[in-house]
Amino acid sequence: MSGAASGSLDSRDVGSLGPRSAVGPQLQPTLDELSRPGRGGGKIPHPPADALAGIPASALRDAPLALPELNEPEVVRHFVDLSRLNYSVDGGFYPLGSCTMKFNPKLNEWAARLPGFAQLHPLAPDALAQGTLQLLWELEGLLAEISGMRAVTLQPAAGAHGELTGILMVRAYHESRGDHERREVLVPDSAHGTNPATASMAGFTTVEVPSAPDGGVDLDAFRAALGPRTAAVMLTNPSTLGLFEGRVVELLEAIHEAGALAYMDGANLNAILGKFRPGAAGFDVMHINVHKTFSTPHGGGGPGAGPVGVGEKLLPFLPSPRVLREDDGTFRLERPGERPTSIGRVRAYQGSSGVFVRAFAYIRAHGGSGLVEVSEDAVLAANYLKSRIAGAYAIPYERPCKHEFVASGGPLHEATGVRTLDIAKRLIDKGFHPPTIYFPHIVDECLLIEPTETESLETLDAFAEALLEIAAEARREPELVTSAPHTAPVRRLDEATAARQPDLHWRAMTGAESPCPT
């Protein structure tokens, strides 16, 4: 494995970047290919010649730094042109099940960039941080009400991180009660991959319990698997099939009777705002994906954040430091050692406040009534979309879905040889980002479709029509579908070679020898 050859821009094979045109997205050279010695400068003043005199030579870099040299116009053009190769919510519909790709409000970008928020150092004394501390404290309260939980921690930096934090608290809870036998975590077979991975990281074994034919938990199977070795059950509700767990009350009872705790994966919270509050229903802990339900941007894969709500049992174990409100109305962080039962830190400092400014703004913009409307519209849109495509795609679960639903490309595959992967790629040609595919694993040739509440009826109809067209194409001229996409900046990629012979960075450049440009 190595960096691949990087030639100069002139000698590169033009064909390897595709045909050029005046408008439209263009494939781009990499920064090293654009670099020319002597470009750049004008950003930072020059240091004095003896700036590094106090440092022993052995600690200093001896080879010159080999990074790309570009001027600002080239940098800007490079990244602007790269951005045009991306599909994005701002550009189009992303019906990705389980991701909740809703609109990212622009006020939130403005707010997060206010210097008062953006320039505050995380170790600044509490007195200097009253604005952010108040925002975080208030946000905890808003999320506690939404989730029906007693308290919320904003420390975890992502949903999976929240899962780990939650399960670590479960572990601490059982340990505190002297119960060291509970080494198992139960998950339904439809669980998102992070659930069992989290259990493993926290030192537990995962026991997978099959789902019932109606898509819900198999209560008998769960009861059989529950016992004195069960630390927790991790449930997503609505499930990853988009179905509300109608047997949730019985399941929670069984879990607690077995002495275990109930963890709710909050990835699908967009379906149940104001309709179901997990803590109030009996869940002991849950994580929330603010980049899903609360609109913080996905950013191409991150950063998100994963606050965790807890009920009474896990309150003592929350990560430290918590945000506290004093009687005089000021706010402060918990001091070290102030709450010895805490599981400690799961990250540096106290949380991704930049993300939380956005989540806070989103929740305040909607208020209680607005959030209920969000769920009602999300659920209505999903059911509507399901009804529009039900003729051409198999719908494994007949009952009303929540904010997302599964469809199966199985029968179409049987009849035409066209797979869900091909349908997904052909949707790109129709101008849409594909939905989630092949998840959850329990549905054959699965499509998991989640429109969210911020897509217009016209968009929903256009998407439904595209899917219906593709089903027709699959029967009429399947080649068109199986060789899709045709109109994207690149066609299907050789992922096998990418994995067999990984090329993870450009070949090392020559060090910047030229004198610093003035």
Partner: protein
């Protein structure tokens, strides 16, 4: 509704298509016993009012003091182009690049980030996936445990406290041993103690972790520590600060197998704690152990060069309970900020940032020594160091009144160390001005002489914050 497009007519049309007259039936499967009836939250706030509310909150933060606070998060000048690029919706509202055909923008920027960090660290494999320096450090330690199949890790007490505490939390769950190595009087890791700890044949060590610079700002004997670690069959992990790598020897050059650290200094604002960018890099031989997303270069079926997430079968969605980590994110937008920052500055600019910080730090050292606060340690530093200040906590609080944020009282991180109880950890960067340094020195002299600030308008108390400011509360 704030952002939803549906009019009553739209809703009616959808309901009609479903043959229902309200959304009730769609929620009927929620058992009555657990059905909620709305949310007890404030009323919706129109944008105009919400904007004022947010401005008010931001205004209650004080970011106008002359700040010498580093301790893992550093103020740097970020070229204006960086935020302009980050504000492009095509980048920040894009999803994880699972469909590479329509995500070449994100994928290529991650590949470029990997390449830039490979050069800075001198290591081949870079993952963009980690939440912050603490999580990256914990993952680095876990990687070493997996690679060596040993269950004991040694970390210097001079590695960032939060990174050590986080690693401890992750280790407790996996029942692994994390031991701290002492530092010597000169502030660097005690290599004799390291050699001793490595000598226990009954308890072989998976990894040795040192910071460069360390948490006191000092330069450590990395090559020697690496040698000791390797001689005992352990891996060597360097915990690094990426801007410093423009001037300091990269981890790959002194024998580090893995490098971890915080990428915030590369163009990401402090934001009171995040979101940040955990840096994690390793030698090629460890590629199967590194958790998180990797982007590789390949071709499409017409031979066009393209980028794709690769080595995916290591990850949680495929391996599930056998995955090395549960990590799902890939901090792509933060990695983009770092990439644009480095592209804007180039090798000369980035080196100038590092060198200017060092020059300002020397100025700071001289000014503080003249004001009666000499350096605590003797080992060399880059741009951060500890100064001896009796009654440091009280002095720090008093300096706030003079409009100076005098670094970090080290008692907060090392409460049981009598030497560090009388110390402040201060730093300078290329944005630190001579005027700020002079202000700090003058204020320090005044506080030590028992004087109150002549000009109280800049003081924190004058801003209306209650007297609790003088108890110097704050993050641990």
């Amino acid at each position: 509704m704030a952002y939803g497009p549906h009019t009553p007519a739209d809703r009616e049309a959808m309901l009609a298509a479903l043959g229902i007259t309200s959304v009730e039936p769609l929620f009927a499967d929620i058992p009555v016993a657990v059905r909620a009836d709305g949310l007890a939250l404030p009323e919706p706030e129109p944008e105009l009012e919400l904007a004022a509310r947010l401005e008010g909150l931001a205004g209650r933060n004080r970011v106008d003091l002359a700040s010498f606070l580093g301790a893992g998060v550093y103020r740097h000048y970020v070229p204006a182009a960086v935020d302009q690029i980050l504000l492009r919706g095509e980048f920040y509202t894009a999803y994880t690049p699972y469909q590479p055909e329509v995500s070449q923008g994100t994928l290529q920027t991650i590949y470029e980030y990997q390449s830039l960090l490979a050069e800075l660290t001198g290591l081949d494999v870079v993952s963009a996936s980690h939440y912050d320096g603490a999580a990256a450090t914990a993952e680095a330690a876990l990687m070493a445990v997996r690679a060596t199949r040993r269950r004991r890790v040694l970390v210097s007490r001079a590695v960032h406290r939060h990174y050590v505490e986080t690693t401890r939390t992750y280790f407790a769950a996996a029942e692994l041993a994390l031991e701290e190595l002492p530092t010597t009087a000169d502030g660097t890791t005690d290599l004799a103690a390291l050699a001793d700890a490595l000598a226990d044949a009954e308890r072989p060590v998976a990894a040795v972790l040192l910071g460069q610079p360390n948490a006191f700002g000092l330069l450590e004997p990395m090559a020697q520590a690496a040698e000791l670690a390797h001689a005992a069959g352990a891996l060597f992990v360097a915990v690094v600060e990426p801007v410093s790598l423009a001037v300091l020897a990269p981890p790959g050059s002194y024998g580090a197998d893995i490098a971890a650290g915080e990428g915030q200094p590369l163009g990401i604002a402090p934001q009171y704690g995040g979101p940040y960018l955990g840096v994690l890099a390793c030698r090629e031989a460890l590629v199967r152990q590194i958790p998180g997303r990797l982007v590789g270069r390949t071709t499409d079926l017409e031979g066009k060069r393209a980028f794709v997430m690769t080595l995916r079968a290591r990850e949680q969605d495929i391996r599930r309970e056998r995955a090395a980590s549960n990590i799902c994110t890939n901090q792509a937008l933060c990695a983009l900020a770092a990439t644009v920052y480095v592209a804007c500055l180039g090798p000369h600019g980035l080196r100038d940032v590092g060198a200017l910080g060092a020059a300002r730090a020397r100025e700071l050292e001289r000014a503080l020594a003249a004001a009666g606060a000499p350096r605590l340690h003797r080992a060399p530093y880059l741009n951060e160091f500890a100064v001896h200040v009796p009654d440091a906590a009280r002095v720090h609080a008093a300096l706030l009144e003079h409009g100076v944020l005098a670094g970090l009282p080290l008692a907060r991180w090392y409460p049981d160390d009598p030497q560090l109880r009388e110390a402040l950890l201060v730093c300078a960067t290329e944005v630190t001005t001579t005027a700020e340094i002079e202000r700090f020195a003058a204020a320090l002299a005044a506080v030590r002489a028992g004087g109150a600030p002549a000009d109280r308008t800049g003081s924190v108390a004058a801003a209306g914050t209650p007297a609790s400011v003088t108890t110097a509360g704050g993050a641990s």
